[in-house]
């Protein structure tokens, strides 16, 4: 099947480059400009988060001057409504926001991946039952559900991670299911089955490695959703009161009346950080998904690949 894709693509005069080869994340990550840009943005923030113990001696919330002090040489981004240094707060926020983003995305990917794998691989009644369940969860509005759950279950970081993770798995499940269904029908999987390979071996040896890159791409996108969702929950006062995240900095700026004080430096930077990371994760995740998912021939973000014609019908895996 893979050869068929490449053959058609080549026949249409399309560059069968590294990005084309299904299954190779590395080639996408280092050849697509959008992927490189996205990866660079995420990389910088991850680096800041990892280095935060060295960058941040002491308590970031410590009062170092008058409230909403203007940016100055010693405090390049000024002070917030509690008189704490904005730069330190942002670094502390990076750590928590990324932690929430990655952990929640991991929970989602685990649930969604498992549901999609079982549903696609076993088919039949398992498939129907799991997909029905997914259909119901998809329709419930996610953000209100998260807000309600966060309001009911108490304000801790773990709760928030679990709540976000437990709600965002549906798209992953559908994506993985479609992919697994097409992989399952490939000749080498059928041959392996004929040679007597059990379900477990088929899943772990043949199917999972084929869908793993797509799962990773999807997880990157989920990181963006999760960071976004955290700012929602925290903005409504439902965040963990003991930690500083970007969402919390936006909330603080709002509740401490940064607007009345005209303190743009307390409002703009945390939201800008969220925007940048979400943008980075979207760029990276989307480029990976575009390149790895044969069903999405036309890249959502690519400017150049517009000539590639959709191969719908020839590649129908559902």
């Amino acid at each position: 099947m893979s050869a068929a894709i490449q053959g058609t693509a080549a026949a249409e005069g399309v560059d069968v480059s590294a990005a084309r080869r299904p299954g190779s994340i590395r080639s996408v990550a280092f050849h697509e400009p959008t992927a490189i840009a996205g990866l660079a943005i995420i990389g910088i923030f991850v680096l800041i988060a990892l280095l935060s113990p060295f960058l941040l001696p002491g308590d970031p919330k410590e009062k170092v001057g008058p409230i909403f002090e203007h940016p100055s040489a010693s405090h390049p981004l000024g002070l917030d409504g509690g008189g704490a240094d904005m730069v330190k707060l942002l670094i502390a926020g990076t750590r928590v926001s990324l932690l929430v983003g990655f952990c929640a995305a991991l929970v989602s990917a685990l649930i969604g991946g498992t549901v999609g794998l079982f549903s696609g691989f076993y088919g039949g009644k398992t498939d129907i039952a799991l997909m029905r369940m997914t259909d119901y969860v998809i329709v419930i509005p996610d953000i209100p559900l998260m807000i309600v759950a966060a309001a009911l279950f108490g304000r801790s970081l773990t709760n928030i991670i679990i709540i976000i993770g437990i709600i965002y798995w549906t798209t992953t499940a559908r994506l993985i299911r479609a992919q697994v269904k097409s992989v399952r029908e490939r000749v080498y999987v059928k041959r392996a089955r004929a040679l007597g390979a059990g379900n477990r071996r088929l899943i772990f040896k043949h199917v999972l490695p084929q869908v793993a890159p797509l799962l990773i791409a999807n997880t990157v996108l989920l990181v963006a959703y999760a960071i976004f969702a955290e700012t929602f929950i925290t903005f409504l006062g439902l965040g963990d009161p003991s930690v500083i995240s970007w969402g919390r900095l936006i909330e603080n700026a709002f509740t401490d009346d940064a607007i009345l004080n005209n303190a743009w430096w307390a409002i703009v930077p945390p939201g800008l950080c969220v925007t940048l990371v979400v943008l980075g994760a979207t760029l990276f995740g989307q480029s990976l998904e575009d390149a790895l998912n044969p069903r999405l021939r036309v890249g959502h973000l690519s400017v150049r690949r517009f000539k590639v014609r959709p191969l719908r019908g020839k590649l129908d895996s559902e």
Binding site: D135, Y136, V139, I140, P141, D142, I143, P144, L145, M146, I147, V148, A149, A151, L152, F153, A224, F228, T231, F232, F235, L236, G237, L238, G247, I250, A253, F254, I259, N262, W264, I267, V268, P270, G271, V274, T275, L276, V278, L279, T282, L283, R297, V298, G299, H300, L301, V303, R304, F306, K307, V308, R309, P310
Partner: protein, 324 residues
């Protein structure tokens, strides 16, 4: 007969989803968390009063009994009473709903119009500066947290335009003699524009991106080539042959993003102190008024389910392939 089957199937699915949503609502509020009365924030409440309240709400009965009572109540349109105001939840939600609807409609309309416009121009003038501007502006707005965008608009835009940033009406309006209908309307619009603009911009990003990629796909199809070959103008090719077909995914998208629209409008209404459902939700959370929160959540869920059903049926109407 086929079309009847399709419609019946979708309606049945929607009805089942409503049932699932109602049950989820019950499970979330009545069994997984503590009960509403103990969570209520109230200093003067004595233990006796709380026990009385529990009895009033039927919280002393078994879960199964509570569930049937809850279902019976809902069947009669009864969502219980708000703990804070002691008024029926339906009444408490009605006025905010009337405030929210026009604001969300205005914002969504804005985003659909601009999303389609910019998306189509981007796809048509692909790989030019126009496309890049459209793509990156779409991506930027898509990545912004709505509440933050709202704060930025309050900070940088509201002053310049001289628009109010809080509430839904001018407190001085109507003090000096009765205000005319026109004056009331203008005042309403002035208060509605900024929250609607915030919502519209956030959604615009997503819509523009999806319209663009749907259009790119459509413009590569054979029938577009045919349209060009038979000498149609660019205008006719893009709008009549291209967009017509690209509209299908957009219908699905608007329905799917309704959950996000609602979520976004909660934080946006909070930023602009706009007295709609979102602000009501925030206040209910603040005061731990669970019956009110439960009612609001159910209302939001039902509206999303309904919108999905409408989108499904619309899709059916728009796309002959579904019915054949």
């Amino acid at each position: 007969m086929r079309s009847f089957d399709f419609v019946a199937k979708r309606v049945l699915f929607a009805a089942l989803t409503v049932f699932v949503a109602i049950t989820l609502n019950f499970v979330l509020f009545r069994t997984l968390s503590g009960d509403a009365v103990s969570a209520l924030r109230c200093r003067q409440c004595t233990a006796q009063f709380k026990a009385y309240q529990r009895e009033q709400l039927g919280l002393d009965k078994s879960k199964w009994e509570q569930y049937t009572i809850y279902l019976q109540g809902l069947a009669h349109g009864d969502m219980g009473k708000s703990l804070r105001s002691e008024r029926p939840v339906t009444e408490e939600l009605w006025q905010p709903l009337k405030n929210t609807m026009p604001m969300v409609a205005l914002g969504t309309l804005f985003s659909i119009v601009f999303g389609i416009l910019i998306g189509v121009i981007s796809a048509w003038r692909r790989a030019t500066w126009a496309d890049r501007t459209g793509l990156w502006s779409g991506l930027a707005f898509y990545s912004m947290p709505p509440q933050w965008l709202g704060l930025l608009i309050v900070l940088f835009v509201a002053g310049a335009l001289g628009l109010p940033t809080a509430g839904i009406k001018d407190p001085t309006l109507g003090i000096l003699g009765d205000a005319s209908t026109w004056e009331v309307f203008v005042d309403r619009m002035r208060h509605m524009i900024l929250p609607a603009l915030t919502l519209g911009l956030v959604l615009y990003g997503e819509y523009a991106l999806v319209v663009r990629s749907a259009m790119l796909e459509t413009l590569g199809e054979d029938y577009v080539l045919t349209a060009r070959a038979k000498g149609l103008t660019n205008w006719a090719t893009v709008w009549r042959h291209g967009l017509r077909n690209a509209l299908l995914p957009i219908v699905t998208l608007v329905a799917l993003s309704l959950g996000f629209i609602i979520g976004g409008s909660i934080t946006i209404e909070y930023v602009f102190s706009y007295p709609g459902i979102g602000l009501q939700v925030v206040e209910a959370i603040d005061q731990r008024d669970y019956p009110l929160l439960q009612g609001a959540f159910l209302l939001l869920t039902l509206s999303v389910i309904l919108a999905n059903l409408v989108a499904d049926l619309l899709y059916f109407k728009l796309d002959p392939r579904v019915s054949s």
